[in-house]
Each structure stands twice: as C-alpha cells, then as structure tokens.
C-alpha cells in the first residue's frame, strides 16, 4: 500500500535524511571541537537513527509492498543426475586407487602429526612449577613494596599481603598474613609452632579458581574470596567453611628472627592454587 499522497511521503523521507545530514555535520564539528563522548555519541546516534527512520519510511510508504510469491524448487537432484554424479565420483579406470589412497592417507597423517610438534613451543613444561613456590626456609616476609614485616607490625585483627624478600614478582608466592589471638587458634597437628605471637600466614591464592583471597573478617577469623564466595577459617588451618572451595589454603610456616622480623620456616604446607588432576 503506497501512500495515498506520494508527495507527502516523499517529503517525510526527505526530512529524515535532511535531519541526518544536519546531525552528521554536527558530529564533524563536535569532533573538531573535541567535544566529550556524550555529545559525540548522541550526535552519531541522531544521524544514524534519522537515516534508519528515513529508510524504513521510504520502504513502508513508497516502495512496492507486495506481498510477492516466489516458488520453491526441490533441493535434491533428479534421479538421473544423481546417477551421473555417482559415476563421476567413482572415477572408473584409475588403477590401484585404494592402495594409493591408503599411502596418501598415511603420508598426510604423518605430516599432520609432524606439524603439531611446534605447539610444544607455546609454553614451558609444567614440571614441578605448580608444586613449589619461591618461599625457602629463612626468607623474610616483606610487603608488596618490599618492606620487611616484624612480628609486631600487625595489630590484633590486622591483615597484610606478604611476599618472600626479593621475590615480590613471584605471583604464586603471595600470602595473606593475619594477626589473631594466639589462644583462639586451633593448630593443625604438627603446625603448633607455625604462628608465632598469633601471626598466621596462608597462601593468598584461592584453592578453588585462583583468585586472591583478599578479605578478612576479624570478628569471626574468616578469610573470604570475593570471586566465588569461598570462606576459610583462619583460626583452624584455613579449612573451607562454605562456598565451592574443597581444600584448605596452604599454610606458610613462620618464625621470628633475632631482630623480631618474621621469616618463613619453609615452603607452604601443600602446593598452592587451584587443584589439578595430578597435583595433590
């Protein structure tokens, strides 16, 4: 149904295109004047929206509306064409076709396998890198800025991210140090001496999906991972309380040296980070 008065419809479409032209000029000026993103976005939107309106109106009012009918033809070939294709595919008269085909298959498979080898260059062997971190016995605990941490640095209820001295670049060695009331700790068997003066440190890498366990609630002694809401009990070996994590955060053994600084008594109690098939 084209418009009863085509001249009015033409005018309508033309006005939209004129509006779009004006907005585009505005957009160019806005760019020249370094206008902000809001102005640029709105002007671009107006220019495009007016074009859209013009096109839709043009199509609705002035173009043949139909409906038109087109016949559909069968997709599959007629039987004689089908048979001709079969004969063409069969490639009659080629000697030892099957044998040569097999040899070719073997050659291509071998080439394919050989071409897969450079994938090995994409990364180092995992080796033992997931089993251990940079922490060694006697390393001082330092802040991400490299400041050493003493046994009295933290107030009761305080929390700090620490790295091994000289290895603040070792992302897998990040640990979260909290200061708790020594009497409140339920030490895991064999770790009774790991929390001098209530300083207790755990791997900061969540055992679920590897996010930094960044939040600590002093009232309950709970460590909280903001990614998937796993909660760990800092007073009880950082065992998981709720959320998807299944394993406790590995604990870092701590010692106090003669100058009162905190040092590690060795690497974490278990491999850090999310579990894998073969890392226990």
């Amino acid at each position: 149904m084209t418009d009863r008065d085509p001249r009015r419809a033409v005018g309508g479409v033309a006005r939209w295109f004129a509006a779009s032209t004006a907005a585009s000029i505005g957009l160019a000026v806005a760019y020249a004047l370094d206008a902000n993103a809001q102005v640029q976005g709105v002007l671009a939107a107006v220019a495009l929206a007016a074009l859209a309106a013009g096109f839709v109106r043009w199509s609705e009012r002035l173009m043949p509306p139909g409906p038109y009918v087109e016949e559909r033809h069968p997709l599959a070939a007629p039987p004689d064409e089908d048979r001709a294709a079969d004969r063409a595919l069969a490639g009659e008269g080629l000697p030892r076709r099957r044998f040569l085909g097999r040899m070719l298959g073997a050659a291509l498979a071998a080439l394919g396998v050989a071409l897969l080898f450079p994938i090995r260059s994409l990364g180092p062997s995992p080796g033992r890198s997931l089993l251990r971190t940079a922490w060694r016995r006697g390393m001082r605990l330092v802040t991400p800025e490299g400041q050493p941490v003493a046994a009295e640095t933290l107030q009761l209820g305080g929390v700090l991210t620490v790295f091994p001295e000289g290895r603040t670049d070792a992302a897998d060695s990040q640990a979260i140090l909290v200061r708790v009331d020594p009497a409140a700790i339920t030490p895991v068997a064999g770790r009774e001496a790991w929390a001098p003066d209530g300083n207790v440190a755990y791997s900061k890498i969540c055992t679920h999906a590897g996010c930094p366990v960044g939040l600590y609630e002093d009232r309950t002694g709970q460590l909280f991972c903001p990614c998937h809401q796993s909660v760990f009990d800092a007073l009880d070996g950082a065992r998981p309380l709720t959320g998807p994590a299944t394993r406790a955060l590995p604990q870092l053994p701590l010692e106090v040296d003669d100058e009162g600084y905190l040092r590690s008594g060795g690497d974490f109690s278990e491999p850090v980070g999310p579990a894998t098939w073969d890392v226990p």
């Binding site: 809001q38 976005g41 096109f55 043009w58 409906p67 994938i119 990040q174």
Partner: protein, 449 residues
C-alpha cells in the same frame, strides 16, 4: 546511465546480470522475528569497524610503564603498556572513548541478538530438515562469539579482566589428564605469564573474526540457496515463499535496521559508561576487584562456578577438581545438546520430512516447554553470577542466597516448563493471539493466492 553501463560492463565479463536480476526479485518473508539474525549480522559489521579503529592503538604488551596520560588520578602509577594504551584510547585519542564503549556495547547486543535469533529458530522448528547444517553453523557462531567476547574484555589488562583470565586459567587447569599441560601451552606458563596478551590479541582480531566471517558467509549462502522458512498462513505453502522483494523494499527496511542498531550502539557508547578500567585499576596479581561480574553472556558460567557445591572426585590418587564440572562439563554438555538438537528431535518425533512452513510455539507444546525450561535454567545461573550483589541488595548472607539459587536452578525450570506447556496447549486449543503475533502493520495481511 552510469549504473546501466556498469551493469553491462560487468555482465560482459562475469555474466552477472541474470543472477543479479533474480537476486533483486528474491522474496523475503515479512515477519519481524526474521530480522533477529540480521541484527546479529549488523552488530558484527559494527564490531569489525569499531574494532579496527581500536586495534590501531592497542599495544598487547605486559611491560611496565609509568602512566603519564591525561587521567590525573593514575598519574605516576606503574601500569602495563596494554593498560596504558587502552587509557590512551579512552582519554587521549579523539573519539576514542565513544568508539571503545560502542565496541563493547555492540558485543553485548551481538550476543543478545544471536541468542534471540537462536531462540526464534528453536521455538518455531526452523532447524528441521533441510536446515540442520545452518543450525550447526549458527551454534558454532554463538560459540565463537562467546569466546571472542571473553578474549576481548580480557585485553585491557585491568584488574577485572585479569581476574577473568585467572579464573579461565584455573578452569583449564582442572581438565583431567591434560589440564596442567594445556594451561601452560595456552597461557604460556604458570599464570600470570607474559605471552597471553599478544596471543589473545591475535585470536581476538584475526583468528576468530576470520572464522566468523567465513561461517557467516556460508550461513547466508545456505539461507539464499534453501530460501527462507515462513509462518503458515493463507496462500503460504511448503512450496512457496511469500513476502517482500529484496529490491528495493526489503533492502531499504534492512538498511534501516543497520542504521537503527548503529544508532542504538552509538547512543550507548556515548552515554552509558562500560568497563571503566581507570576505576578498576591495572592488573596486580595479589589484588582483586569486588564485586566482579563478567559480561552478561559469560554470567551463566560464572554463576555455575559460584553455586556448584564443594564437590570433587578423587580416583586412585587423581582428582577431578571442582571447577571442571561447572567450568568445562556444563558448557560442553550445553553445546553438545545444542548441536544435537535437530537430530535428537527428529529421532524422538520420527519426523524426518522437509519443512519450510514453521511451527508456531503453541503447535509443539513439549518443544516449547523444553525451550522455556532450558532458558530458565541458564537465567538462574546468570542470576547466580551476581549472588554477592543479590545478597547485598536483599540484605541477607550470601550463603543463604546461594542455597536458594541451588534449589531454584533445578526447581524453577520445571515450574516454567510446566506453565509453558499448559499455556501453549491452551493457546492451541483456543486459537488466541500469541506473543509472536505483534501488530506488524499492513505486511501481515493474508495473501489472496
């Protein structure tokens, strides 16, 4: 005159005129839901255009530099070159911010359009013979679009994207047998390794877009060859197509849609802030942004990770870690079922005939119920991806919200599926107006054949 001479010139060399004439008079059905796929196509066009501009400035390098751009609060902060280059696009490249934000918004609309298009095809049975191939190509396009969305928002090397990459690394690690090696090969070593940004860039701007462009071409060529489906109606049969001709009516309407979606994306790019990396800050391994939500189309995976209980499997000293189930198994099953659906349905209904007339959702209450249930399932998972925000909003502990969501993710799909089944049967029996029968003006009137 010039047009005619050009056509003649091309016809002499390519013999193109017959094809062109047939193409221009090709008939396209008029129903509005047939434009959802075009919407996705035009989003892809916008993404390529805006993305090209961004790629001219982006530097995929993790090397540390001191930020000296015009955003004062970060002055003097050590950031990666990648982060600094996105800051430059946002604050120091003229028109950079609006184009960057439009690119991100277009990606969100792109995925929404694909999901809407896929839903329309599902609920109307458009995937049935002979269109199974195009269904498979379409599902692959959805998969690639999802992946490219994720690889795109991982590029700026800010705190949020770093968190997403870290979770992706952990999910790869969780794959039985090969996880450790695979994670090291994909990420170039133990996270955070320096090579990942340049790899993501190659994947994001070359590999996936090229694959998508090829698949989109095949998708459209197959539609062209097979012709469109159409809803049943007077004069519409299995052996015809009723609608508008491509030139000029349908082309004008479609170009109108291209400009309309361009207008929407431009307006959002200018007015609605998205991914403000200067508020998140640069990626630091020991820091995390909170609350942290991914783009909406990854939300169902994030939700699965959040509400999957603390289970894992231990076998003979080996373990299948917890993130494997929501992070690998769930998407694998999801896409396997999506790919298989046309064949599964044909098997269960025994209907292997060619179909060019669509079902209305009410014609197949069971299929509609299954679709509604499945969409509900993923919607609850999407909601679960924000369980922390939900808890804060409702003022209740997040553990309570998680417990409720764990129940809802199974209960709610059953409820909505049963409800959909009843509604569809009632609609079918009473022939009331359906939700797809929007007033589309004069183009919906029946054909006198």
């Amino acid at each position: 005159m010039i047009v005619r001479r050009t056509v003649r010139w091309l016809d002499d060399r390519l013999g193109a005129t017959t094809f062109t004439r047939q193409a221009l008079t090709k008939v396209f059905p008029d129903h509005w839901t047939f434009m959802l796929g075009e919407l996705a196509l035009y989003c892809f066009v916008i993404l390529v255009a805006t993305g090209t501009f961004l790629a001219f400035f982006f530097v995929p390098s993790p090397n540390e530099v001191v930020y000296r751009g015009s955003y004062q609060p970060l002055h003097g902060v050590e950031v990666s070159e990648a982060f600094a280059s996105v800051m430059r696009i946002s604050f120091d490249v003229r028109a950079g911010l609006v184009i960057r934000q439009a690119h991100h918004w277009a990606a969100l609309v792109f995925l929404a359009a694909i999901v809407a298009h896929l839903s329309r095809l599902f609920f109307t049975g458009a995937f049935r013979r002979p269109r199974e191939l195009n269904w498979i190509i379409g599902v692959t396009l959805l998969l690639l679009a999802l992946f490219n969305g994720f690889s795109g928002y991982s590029l700026p090397d800010d705190l949020l994207s770093g968190t997403g990459l870290r979770i992706a690394y952990s999910i790869v690690l969780s794959i039985p047998l090969v996880g450790t090696w695979l994670a090291f090969l994909v990420f170039g070593g133990e996270f955070p390794a320096p090579d990942i940004l340049s790899r993501l860039l190659v994947i994001h701007i070359y590999l996936v877009p090229l694959a998508m462009a090829g698949l989109i071409t095949a998708h459209l060529a197959i539609v062209w060859r097979q012709k469109h489906t159409q809803f049943p109606g007077p004069g519409r049969t299995e052996t015809n197509v009723v609608g508008s001709v491509l030139w000029p009516t349908y082309a004008a309407r479609s170009i109108g849609l291209l400009f309309a979606i361009g207008a929407l994306v431009a307006a959002m790019g200018g007015l609605l802030q998205i991914n403000p990396i200067w508020l998140y800050g640069p990626f630091i391994p020991e820091a995390v942004s909170s609350p942290a939500q991914p783009d909406w189309y990854v939300g169902w995976l994030e939700g699965g990770l959040r509400i999957f209980p603390a289970w894992e499997v231990e076998l003979f000293g080996f373990r299948i870690p917890n993130p494997f189930f929501p992070g690998v198994l769930l998407p694998a099953v999801t896409f396997a079922l999506l790919y298989a659906w046309p064949f599964l349905e044909a098997r269960f209904t025994g209907d292997r005939a060619e179909h060019h007339l669509l079902d209305r959702p009410r014609d197949r209450p069971l299929r509609t119920a299954i679709g509604v249930g499945v969409l509900t399932f993923y919607s609850v998972l999407l909601l679960a991806g924000s369980n922390d925000i939900l808890a804060r909003f409702l003022g209740v502990p997040v553990t309570g919200v998680t417990a409720v969501l764990r129940a809802l993710v199974f209960a709610l799909p059953v409820v909505t599926a049963l409800a959909a089944h009843r509604v569809m049967r009632a609609l079918r029996d009473t022939e009331a107006r359906g939700i797809l029968d929007l007033p589309t003006g004069r183009r919906e009137r029946p054909v006198a054949s």
